[in-house]
Subunit: 144 residues, 2 copies
């Protein structure tokens, strides 16, 4: 299976990213000449991971007929201090709100994504320390 | 060094991604209930890699006083056919147009990004087969 993206230089440090027929501007940090025209590229790895696993989980929960009022995935990355500043560790927080949310079904959906479906998780797992938390109505239900 | 992103469920399979003070919509493929409201999350890994190395390269070339007319980085990924559909291989194409572009300086800028500066490249390198091409005015100048 093949997948393609590209980034085209505009000016300064701004590039236009093209993906799946959409485009958006990315830019460098101001200390490297960026002008806050878009998000910085490195964090898109965190969005890629969060989005991939979040879509798995909501899709599985919908199949299980679990109804959530709100759902968010936050990815907190830790990078090396020295160049190249690569990801050492990412904590994935699955944050749910709702009434009568069934913890076992939620744990099962999260595990299925991490172990079976999420290709970004599987790509990063051999090289980045990945851990996760499940937070339901503000309370940590699972931490690993 | 820490870095954070999150994705908040909107409806269907659409999520709003938040990164560096910007937000944009991501969506699933239509066969998984997406409605083409934004790019899919997995390819953001390719944008992250392309953007990270592209910004390094243009910044280094500017310091070397190399003037390019146009510059683009394309990332072509190959994924596994089975779940989890992870990245096996990514070809990074550095595509330049201009007059009198000095190949040695361009090779040096690309090598510096890959070996020294690009944190996304360094994150993926242990787990994904990464290769690159330098294409100048439509001609492949370097392939590895």
């Amino acid at each position: 299976m093949a997948m393609q993206a590209n980034v085209v230089w505009k000016d300064g440090m701004a590039f236009e990213a093209h993906l799946d027929g959409f485009n958006f501007t990315i830019d460098a940090h101001e200390k490297f000449g960026g002008r806050k025209l878009g998000p910085m590229p490195k964090g898109l790895t965190l969005v890629s991971l969060a989005g991939c696993t979040a879509m798995d989980v909501i899709s599985i929960l919908q199949k299980m007929r679990v109804k959530v009022d709100s759902f968010e995935v936050a990815t907190d990355g830790v990078l090396t201090e020295e160049h190249p500043k690569k990801f050492l560790e990412i904590v994935i927080k699955y944050i749910f709100k709702g009434t009568d949310l069934p913890l076992e079904k939620i744990k099962s959906a999260v595990t299925l994504s991490m172990e079976t479906y999420c290709g970004v998780y599987a790509t990063l797992k051999p090289t980045v320390k990945l851990s996760h938390q499940i937070i339901i109505n503000g309370q940590a239900a699972v931490e690993d």
